[in-house]
């Protein structure tokens, strides 16, 4: 599974402060730490309420790329900020994200085609997040069709079925898992899938246990990527183990280390 490290995000206080003071050290430290623990992509998010999201995004990309060769996942609802970042990314990036809303899809897929970027497509529309899997899959199909119209192959599109906290929206859990399975039937090649894992445990106790349990369940349902705390060792070990049990990697005694190093080999 593709691990997208979530830690460079202005929602975290140390990152918010670093952005405000233009202090590269915390950003670069988290970039290094996440890469060393096995992240394949680094999510970059300036956080809410930034006075200059475009400038902040560009600065985050610059300082991150000074210490890491990993591809970036540009996480913003401000498409100008994403476009500014795409211009300076050293490697093809991932755009995080676009909902199934016509005007937004047209902007984002055109941008993705221009900069050879991958895209995370959210299974939600102007009406919000659907209650069940069928409606999620219908929105996913809309995303796939629009991506193809812009010559973005379906396997460069990651469908996010949108995970909700298990303490407030328990009934969504199985619907998300069913969505993961069914979006694979939309096209050939099928789109990829991604979840923002930490969402599932918002506001709960035992957050890490809930995260890693859901990660493994989602992998068994075909999940391709997840935005996660890459420094959560138990989570990374669970993912590595699931890959062995799903026959995705060949077993050896050091399989957890091998998985963590797979981003650098």
């Amino acid at each position: 599974m593709i691990i997208i490290g979530e830690r460079i995000n202005g929602m975290f206080k140390d990152i918010a402060r670093a952005i405000k003071e233009r202090d590269p050290r915390p950003i670069q430290e988290w970039a290094r730490k996440q890469e060393a623990n096995g992240a394949h992509y680094l999510d970059i998010n300036v956080g809410p309420g930034s006075p200059d999201p475009v400038g902040a995004m560009q600065w985050l990309v610059e300082v991150t790329q000074e210490v890491s060769e990993l591809p970036l996942c540009l996480d913003s609802t401000k498409y100008d900020a994403i476009e500014a970042a795409l211009k300076i990314c050293k490697h093809p990036a991932m755009i995080n994200s676009v909902p199934a809303v016509q005007a937004k899809m047209e902007r984002v897929f055109a941008m993705a085609a221009q900069y050879n970027a991958e895209v995370i497509g959210l299974a939600m529309s102007e009406e919000g997040i659907p209650k069940d899997a069928d409606a999620r899959v219908a929105l996913a199909a809309e995303l796939v069709a629009n991506a193809m119209a812009f010559d973005l192959p379906p396997d460069r599109l990651f469908i996010d079925p949108l995970v909700l906290p298990c303490n407030v929206a328990q009934d969504h859990g199985p619907e998300v898992l069913r969505t993961l399975r069914e979006v694979k039937l939309i096209s050939d090649p099928p789109p990829k899938t991604v979840v923002g894992l930490s969402n599932v445990s918002q506001g709960t106790k035992n957050r890490e246990l809930i995260n890693r349990t859901f990660a493994v369940m989602a992998m068994a349902n075909g999940l391709d990527a997840a935005i996660v705390d890459a420094c959560d060792d138990e989570l990374m070990a669970a993912v590595a183990t699931a890959r062995i049990l799903l026959n995705m990697d060949i077993y050896c005694d050091s399989y957890i280390d091998v998985f963590k190093k797979s981003n650098r080999l």
């Binding site: 990697d249 060949i250 077993y251 050896c252 050091s254």
Partner: protein, 325 residues
Amino acid sequence: MAVEILKEKYRSKVGQVVLGATAAEGGTRSHTITVGGESALPFLHFEGEIPNRPVVALEVWDMAPEEWNPCFKKYYGDVFDDPGAWAKKCVEQYGADLILLRLVSADPDLKDSSPEECAAAVKKVLAAVGVPLIVLGCGKAEKDAAIFPVVAEAAAGENLLLGVAELENYKAITSACMAHKHNLIAQSPIDINICKQLNILIAEMSTALVDRIVIDPTIAALGYGIEYSYSIMERARNGALQGDRMLAMPMIGNVGFEVWRTKEANISAEEEPGWGDQEERGVLWEATTAAAYLQAGMNILVMRHPRAVELVKKNIDDLMCDNSY
């Protein structure tokens, strides 16, 4: 309507290992040999690149082999006592691409030759032939640990392929290869998990050595479990093509050694009249075993009988013909 040809897409490819070094590269070989580099399953030229042909090594011992079948006498009998002359004959008359020198005499139960005597034998073969050289110890781990540093130093610059490293004994040989820049054979007992683990352990000692490992998956002769080794090699190769870096190494197998231990290769026509001529049978047993392992992705075949080598080299010629479309 045009037919759309479905082709498998592979994510990665097998690493390339260069054996030997010319004068310009600090050695004395007349040429180098590169193995590996495939980006498709064996000989599927239409799905990827097969940039280097599989090569055949002939086996030379540093003492006359008493247990070899008498049929080998007419080919090697005059040179059994001289590893240099033996190697020369293998290259010049029998078409060996490279030489594998087995330091049998170091075995404490045989001649117990010293590391210096072993190094002298290696030097002798290096002086006699221009092809790259593979050197194996005597197979007794404790003694081999004493041999490798001396041999590796004596042949520094020659870019040998040294073997073997095993899960329980890999540090001495790995250190010797690190210190004197040689390649090494990582041997696992028909076990994909140990194969991968051993490569990881070697990589932990030296990341640079990852590109210098040749996998010996341990093979069996036809009729003695060939399907087990074959399937292990298939899994390793599929893993390599799917991006498993710790299995993406070229492979070597001791075909001659295994085949010429079997009853089918050795028993006389008098004892088994229905089986036909012994030597002819042995040659075919060795060539057939080799042919199977070529299909499993073996890059270096270590063989014994000159006529089996001839058959296998013809087979390699045919398999290397481009079949892409």
